[in-house]
């Protein structure tokens, strides 16, 4: 009987679970603006729990005047930084934004702050909102 009870318990547990959010952010790091510089960067992993591609086309933050989707590229020994139109996260996959690659460029801090909030939008709706403390270091 025991295996059946266990199965039943698991099924009840599964039915009672909260539905997964469509997009989940992990490993979020926001650097402090460098001394004298009016910008910083955010790095994170975005996991798409839905069955369709999610395209983040806009990110906002109350603590910064502007947030741009950027990508650093190393091209034949030349460091290039480019604005990109969207962060595409295929169904069920994770996109990692990391140093030297895709990242959020946070520009024009609106004032001193310990916590930064980020809102991720697709073409129409708010998809994800996260808060985190600034990293202790500025890079």
């Amino acid at each position: 009987m025991r295996p059946y009870l266990l199965l039943a318990a698991l099924l009840i547990g599964a039915c009672g679970a909260e539905p997964q959010p469509p997009l989940v952010a992990t490993e979020l790091v926001v650097t402090r603006p460098m001394p004298g510089a009016r910008m910083s960067a955010a790095y994170l992993s975005l996991t798409n729990n839905t069955e369709a591609t999610i395209r983040i086309t806009r990110v906002t933050s109350a603590q910064f005047g502007s947030v741009q989707l950027h990508e650093s590229i190393l091209d034949n020994g030349i460091a290039r930084m480019r604005a990109i139109p969207a962060l595409e996260i295929p169904a069920g996959e994770t996109l990692t934004l990391q140093r030297g690659g895709k990242h959020l460029m946070l520009m024009r801090p609106t004032g001193p702050a310990d916590v930064v909030s980020l809102q991720f939008f697709d073409d129409e709706n708010l998809v994800l909102s996260v808060d985190t403390e600034f990293e202790t270091k500025a890079h």
Binding site: R99, H103, A138
Partner: protein, 203 residues
């Protein structure tokens, strides 16, 4: 050749080649991990820029110490601070290991339009004491970069929101004020800790 002489010849040949191999191993300096030492060190071109305190910086400012030169800009949130942090960490590790002398870390701005001496001072100071931040006129900057084969180009943007593409390499300048060795990206702390003392000793 008789079989006996043939054996002697083979034994001699093996002994000789082994000896040459061992001698080469003994004489060969330890291999560098990533640095490329120029076959002939190249004097820095003539230029006149300023440091974070407003002092004039010319090629003579690079005499009598080793310098690690990186070309970047302060409005660069990703690659530039990451590279400077690698150089600062390597310098700290070399210092802890008793390396003497230590190379100075120098950031040359490829964005003199926005990078004032004051801003350069705050930026390089963040990565440690004794670092040098250089900026100045575009014309003088071009003299330095074109003489060293360093590329940079301002990209289109809106107002003050623009990026500058630039060479990602780090240059090691020797105490004679000559471009001595090149570190290409990716920049890794361990490679600097390993290669910089070897290059200095080879001087």
């Amino acid at each position: 050749m008789s079989p006996k002489n043939l054996i002697i010849a083979i034994v001699l040949a093996i002994a000789l080649s082994t000896g040459v191999f061992v001698a080469m191993r003994l004489q060969a300096p330890p291999a560098l991990k990533t640095a490329f030492v120029l076959p002939g060190a190249a004097p820095l071109p003539e230029f006149a820029l300023v440091d974070q305190s407003g002092n004039t910086i010319s090629r003579d400012s690079f005499r009598n110490h080793w310098d690690l030169l990186f070309f970047g800009f302060t409005h660069c949130p990703d690659i530039c601070p990451a590279t400077l942090q690698v150089l600062a960490s390597a310098r700290n590790e070399l210092d802890a290991a008793g390396q003497e002398p230590l190379p100075r870390i120098v950031l040359v701005s490829v964005d003199p339009e926005r990078d004032t001496p004051e801003l350069m001072g705050k930026y390089v100071g963040y990565f440690g004491d004794g670092n040098l931040g250089i900026t100045g006129s575009l014309e003088e900057l071009r003299k330095l970069t074109s003489g060293l084969g360093i590329y940079f180009e301002k990209q289109a943007g809106q107002g003050d929101d623009y990026a500058v593409d630039h060479s990602a390499a780090v240059l090691l300048v020797n105490p004679d004020g000559e471009f001595h060795a090149l570190f290409s990206s990716p920049h890794i702390v361990e490679n600097y800790v390993h290669d910089v003392p070897l290059i200095m000793e080879g001087q």
